[in-house]
């Protein structure tokens, strides 16, 4: 999954001379928290609702005036992403730096923005339930051919796989959660069990070997 698949294209942007109060109004109006700041067609920084609130807070040592220019309070230099970056790379960057967005730059131009919300959408797409389906939870040895064997068994029974989610476990095992297009999951689980697969869900399947 690439950034271009999850980013928002043509994002709202402002120039550094915009007043803090106007940037704030824009955020409220568009229901956004991050605005890239562009100067002479080049990304100059990012201003977030937090930047604005901290800069203008009466608790701060030298509070900025709402009339001050965004260029004075924006975050810069800015970490960016490329449309062809994988989503996991962007996620790693945002997680490490504890930041909420990455402007997306292509040919030196701002083409999009990816925020935590977009990454949550991506997570939902990967883990969510998009079609009526039953759930199989399998533990596989991490070696060649295991998934193929599993898929062949399902194909033999004409079971349609709607989604596969996998994650590594300790002891060189893989956990696989499959959403498959059938209400009758236990007979499938039984067949998998009989074929030597470790079925985590549905539980209490008695194997016949």
């Amino acid at each position: 999954m690439l950034i271009r698949e999850v980013m928002k294209s043509d994002p709202v942007w402002i120039s550094p001379s915009i007043k803090l109060s106007d940037a704030y109004k824009l955020m409220i109006e568009k229901s956004i928290r991050h605005i890239p700041v562009v100067d002479n067609e080049k990304l100059a920084g990012v201003v977030t609702d937090r930047d604005l609130r901290l800069a203008t807070s009466t608790l701060s040592e030298h509070p900025f005036d709402p009339e001050a220019a965004v260029g004075e309070v924006m975050s810069h230099p800015v970490k960016t992403a490329h449309p062809n970056d994988p989503v996991e790379l962007a996620t790693q960057t945002m997680r490490e730096l504890k930041i909420g967005c990455l402007p997306v730059i292509e040919d030196m131009k701002l083409v999009g923005i990816v925020t935590v919300t977009d990454l949550l959408d991506a997570l939902l797409l990967l883990t969510g339930i998009h079609q009526p389906s039953g759930r199989l939870d399998i533990r596989l040895p991490n070696r060649p051919g295991e998934l193929a064997r599993l898929a062949a068994l399902l194909a033999e029974r004409k079971i349609n796989i709607h989604s596969i989610l996998s994650y590594p476990e300790s002891d060189n095992k893989m956990r696989l959660v499959l959403r498959v297009g059938s209400i009758e999951i236990k007979s499938i689980a039984q067949a998998l069990c009989n074929a030597g697969f470790q079925v985590i869900w549905p539980i209490h399947i008695a194997c016949v070997k």
Binding site: P132, S182, S187, P202
Partner: protein, 383 residues
């Protein structure tokens, strides 16, 4: 009270049996034959009213024309391109000859049930079929082709009624919920095993309806291995509050029997005693909050040794018949031969029905929290 029971009508048509998805398919027409034969053996079978078959065009209030055409053509044996797009020709919904005719007889039965209530010809109706709650506007799903329940609810709302729908099937009533998701005159309440574990994967607490239907679609996704005590506690925590606030003109109950502990498709642990207790509860709540009108349909229930007993008990509760202890020997022998399984000696389950569940307390606690979370979410809209 005697009046109310004589105002209970039974609906059935031999045409229901045409809804046969093939040998080995869990949706086995013999389940209902077993009920009828058992009632006959006990001497309690009242002659059921035979419904008319629903014509394909009468389904347009619920289903798309294209979908209806596809189902009817496939049922006649015609080849359809991309039939999987309509949820047919799948492992759960294989194409079988005459399936549409069976589905339309079943839909006719549930529709007749709605009409008997509307025309005041009955107070309670037991439709010995139907309950195809997964069927979508343009898709078959989970053994269901035509959504008879939605058709009957629509008939009632067309008469100006507010309708409550209680879905006791162990699977989420996703088709019915989706069809009425923004309807202000239909409240749906589905209690089921959580979609985290069970088909179809939906029916979460946060599915509350939209627009004018907001806070009228309620879901109680229970943990696997929930027992009857907790099941009833959860329903008791929601149902009286929901019905007393919504004040429906009738309640439609999809009385699926697959929450039984012996069901091969799911993981809840109700006993026949729990079902009886809850059927009686529903009738009391119907008389209290739903102007006394209830339409019961069947639904899921894939244990041939349990589902027929549960629906026989439902029949007896509705007709105020004392529940006999034993199963007639002749019935038992006859059906053991036919289904190739041993049937129990008693109509009710024998306790202890299953091994104790170690996580029982934790499961009950989690389920109890569902009630609080659901009420928190809707209570502001219910004032």
């Amino acid at each position: 009270m005697a009046d109310s029971y004589s105002m209970c009508k039974i609906i059935y048509h031999p045409g229901y049996c045409k809804y046969d998805l093939g040998p080995g398919h869990p949706f086995d027409p013999r389940r209902v034959e077993m009920v009828l034969d058992l009632l006959k053996e006990y001497g309690y079978l009242k002659e059921p009213i035979k419904p008319d078959i629903v014509q394909p065009n009468d389904l347009l209030s619920i289903h798309d024309q294209t979908y209806i055409n596809v189902v009817e053509a496939a049922s006649r044996g015609e080849k359809i391109l991309n039939i999987e797009d309509y949820g047919l020709g799948t492992i759960d919904n294989p194409v079988s000859l005459g399936m549409a005719v069976g589905a339309r007889y079943q839909a006719g039965g549930t529709l007749l049930g709605a009409r008997l209530l509307i025309e005041k010809k009955a107070e309670k109706v037991l439709q010995l079929g139907g309950g195809f709650h997964h069927a979508r506007r343009r898709m078959a799903e989970g053994f269901c082709i035509y959504n008879d329940v939605a058709l009957a609810i629509k008939e009632m709302t067309n008469a100006g009624w507010h309708v409550a729908y209680l879905d006791m099937d162990v699977h989420h009533g996703d088709g019915v919920q989706e069809i009425f998701y923004d309807a202000e005159n239909v409240m749906t309440i589905s209690i089921h095993e959580s979609g985290e574990y069970l088909f179809p994967g939906t029916g979460w607490l946060n599915e509350l309806g939209k627009g004018m239907g907001r806070s009228l679609k309620l879901n109680l996704p229970l943990e696997p291995f929930t027992e009857g005590e907790s099941y009833i506690e959860v329903l008791d925590g929601i149902l009286p509050k929901a019905l007393s606030w919504f004040k429906p003109d009738a309640i439609v109950v999809q009385a699926g029997a697959d929450a039984h502990f012996s069901d091969p498709l799911a993981d809840l642990l109700l006993t026949t005693q729990d079902f009886e207790k809850y059927f009686r509860r529903i009738i009391r709540l119907t008389d209290e909050y739903c102007r006394g009108k209830a339409l019961f349909t069947l639904g899921g229930g894939y244990s041939l040794t349990a589902a027929p007993r549960i629906w026989t008990i439902l029949y007896m509760v509705l007709l105020n018949i004392d529940i006999p202890a034993e199963l007639p020997l002749s019935w038992k022998e006859r059906w053991e031969k036919k289904i190739g399984k041993q049937l129990p000696d008693f109509l009710h389950d024998v306790y202890p029905a299953f091994d104790p569940v170690q996580r029982k307390e934790e499961i009950s606690r989690n389920n109890r929290e569902l009630v609080h979370r659901l009420l928190d979410a809707v209570i502001a809209d219910w004032l």
